[in-house]
C-alpha cells in the first residue's frame, strides 16, 4: 500500500496542506515501514486543471489512498477513476494523519468536499462562504 498525503513541507512533521490540487508537496508513504518520499507538486501553480493534474501525478506513482483537506469535483472524479480512496478533513502533521489512518479512525468520502477553484489564491472562483445561521 502507498499513501499520498498533501503537506505544506517535505517532512513527516510538516502540517497537512488542506488543498489537494494546489498543495505544496506530495508525501508518498508506506504505512508499514513509514518510509516516505516527498515530491513538490508540479501543478501547484497551474492556471487550470490542477486537481486533475495532481490526480494523474499521484495515480501514476501508484498511490492507493489520499489523505488531504478538501477535494474538488474534478479531482474527486479523477481519483475515483484512478481507483484511489480519498480521505478528507484531515489536519495536524503528516505522521499524525498516517497514524489516524492506521488506527482506522478516518472515514473515506463518496463525494467532492470543495467547490471548483477552491485552492486558487485571490480573484475569481474562490469558495463561497458558509451561510451564518441565526440562533432563535
Amino acid at each position: 500500500m502507498k499513501i499520498c498525503v498533501t503537506a505544506q513541507g517535505p517532512t513527516l512533521e510538516a502540517p497537512i496542506d488542506p488543498r489537494f490540487g494546489r498543495c505544496a508537496n506530495f508525501i508518498f508513504i508506506d504505512p508499514d515501514t513509514m518510509k516516505f518520499e516527498a515530491i513538490p507538486n508540479p501543478g501547484s501553480m497551474a492556471s487550470g486543471g490542477a486537481g486533475i493534474q495532481a490526480s494523474q501525478f499521484i495515480v501514476d506513482r501508484g498511490a492507493n489512498v489520499v489523505l488531504t483537506g478538501h477535494v474538488g469535483p474534478n479531482a474527486y472524479n479523477a481519483l475515483n477513476a484512478g481507483g484511489v480512496t480519498v480521505y478528507v478533513g484531515i489536519s495536524g502533521s503528516v505522521s499524525d494523519a498516517v497514524n489516524q489512518f492506521k488506527a482506522g479512525s478516518l472515514q473515506s468520502v463518496s463525494s467532492p468536499t470543495a467547490p471548483a477553484h477552491m485552492g486558487m489564491g485571490g480573484g475569481r472562483g474562490r469558495g463561497r462562504g458558509q451561510g451564518r445561521g441565526r440562533g432563535s
Binding site: 501543478g43 497551474a46 487550470g48 486543471g49 490542477a50 486533475i52 493534474q53 490526480s55 494523474q56 495515480v59 501514476d60 474534478n74 472524479n77 479523477a78 475515483n80 477513476a81 484512478g82 481507483g83
Partner: protein
C-alpha cells in the same frame, strides 16, 4: 473598413456608441456584436429574417477499449482536460480548448474528433438596413472565443461595407479576439478614476495589436479631468464627447438608440467616422 468599439471597463457605452454609429452612417453597414456572454445590440434594434447557426468546438471522443494507457494525451494536454486511470478515462470538457493535440498524440488511434455545442450565432437585418450578426454563448460555458470567431467569420469581405464590432469589456482573450484584424479601435471610457484605470489597460492591450486608437468620452461632465490629461500625454485623440444626459439615459433604458430621437447627433457620428476613414480607411 472595420472599426471595433472596445473598453477596459464594462458599462461605459460601447453598445450605445456602436448602435448609434451604425444608424448614422451612409452606405452599407454591418454591426457585429462580439459580446457573446451578454449580446445586447439586437435589443436596441428590431431584427428581421434571423438565421441561427450552431457553433461547435472540437472535443475528443475516446474509445476506452483501444486505449493502451500510453498517456501521451495526458502529457500533451496543456489544460489537463484528460485523466487516464486504472478504472477508467475521464474527460473534462470545460477545460478543453479544442486544439485536437490529444487525437494526434495517440499511438493507438483511440481518440476521434467529436464536437460539443458552445452557442449560436444570429444573423439578420435591422432598422435602416443595418445587417446585424451576434453570438450567444450557452449559459455556464467558459469558452467564448470560438463563438466570437464564428461571428467574425460572417463579416463582409467587401471593402465597401463598413463593419462595426461591438466588443466584450475587459482586456482578456475575448476582447483581443474581437478587436484583432480591425483597422481602427475606438475605446469608450467615462471620465472617472475607474474609467481611466481600465482605459490605460485597454490602451496597453490594443497597442500590442498595433491597431490605431481613438477615445470617446461618454457621460462627460462627471468625474475629473484625468482621462483628458492621460490622452493628451499619450497623444491619443479624443474623437467625441457624449454628455451625461438624462434624456440619453432614458432613451437607452427604453431600448431606443438616442440618435433616432435626437437627430442632431447624426452629423457628430458621421464626422467621427470621416475622421477615422480619412486617415485609416482602406
Amino acid at each position: 473598413m472595420i472599426i471595433s468599439i472596445a473598453s477596459g471597463k464594462g458599462g461605459t457605452g460601447k453598445t450605445s456608441l456602436a448602435v448609434n454609429l451604425a444608424l448614422s452612417l451612409p452606405g452599407q453597414i454591418q454591426l457585429l456584436d462580439c459580446d457573446v456572454d451578454e449580446p445586447n445590440v439586437h435589443t436596441l434594434l428590431s431584427m428581421k429574417n434571423e438565421q441561427v447557426k450552431p457553433v461547435y468546438t472540437l472535443v475528443p471522443e475516446i474509445d476506452e477499449q483501444k486505449c493502451n494507457q500510453s498517456k501521451n494525451c495526458v502529457n500533451f494536454c496543456p489544460n489537463h482536460a484528460i485523466f487516464v486511470g486504472k478504472k477508467g478515462i475521464n474527460f473534462f470538457p470545460e477545460l478543453c480548448y479544442g486544439c485536437g493535440g490529444c487525437i494526434l498524440s495517440c499511438p493507438n488511434q483511440a481518440i476521434k474528433e467529436g464536437k460539443r455545442q458552445l452557442g449560436v450565432t444570429h444573423r439578420g437585418v435591422a432598422n435602416h438596413g443595418v445587417e446585424v450578426v451576434y453570438g450567444n454563448l450557452n449559459i455556464g460555458e467558459p469558452l467564448a472565443v470560438p463563438v466570437i470567431k464564428a461571428v467574425k467569420e460572417q463579416a463582409s469581405p467587401n471593402n465597401e461595407v463598413t463593419v462595426i464590432i461591438d466588443c466584450p469589456p475587459g482586456v482578456s482573450c475575448p476582447m483581443v479576439e474581437s478587436v484583432h484584424g480591425s483597422d481602427y479601435c475606438v475605446l469608450v471610457t467615462e471620465p472617472t478614476p475607474f474609467g481611466l484605470h481600465d482605459l490605460q489597460l485597454a490602451v496597453d492591450t490594443i497597442r500590442q495589436l498595433k491597431i490605431p486608437i481613438g477615445v470617446v468620452v461618454n457621460r462627460s461632465g462627471i468625474g475629473d479631468r484625468q482621462v483628458y490629461s492621460y490622452c493628451k500625454s499619450e497623444q491619443i485623440p479624443i474623437l467625441l464627447e457624449i454628455p451625461h444626459s438624462r434624456k440619453i439615459a432614458e432613451l437607452f433604458a427604453e431600448g431606443i438608440p438616442f440618435v433616432t430621437k435626437m437627430p442632431e447627433w447624426k452629423s457628430q457620428f458621421e464626422t467621427l467616422f470621416q475622421m477615422i476613414q480619412e486617415r485609416y480607411g482602406r
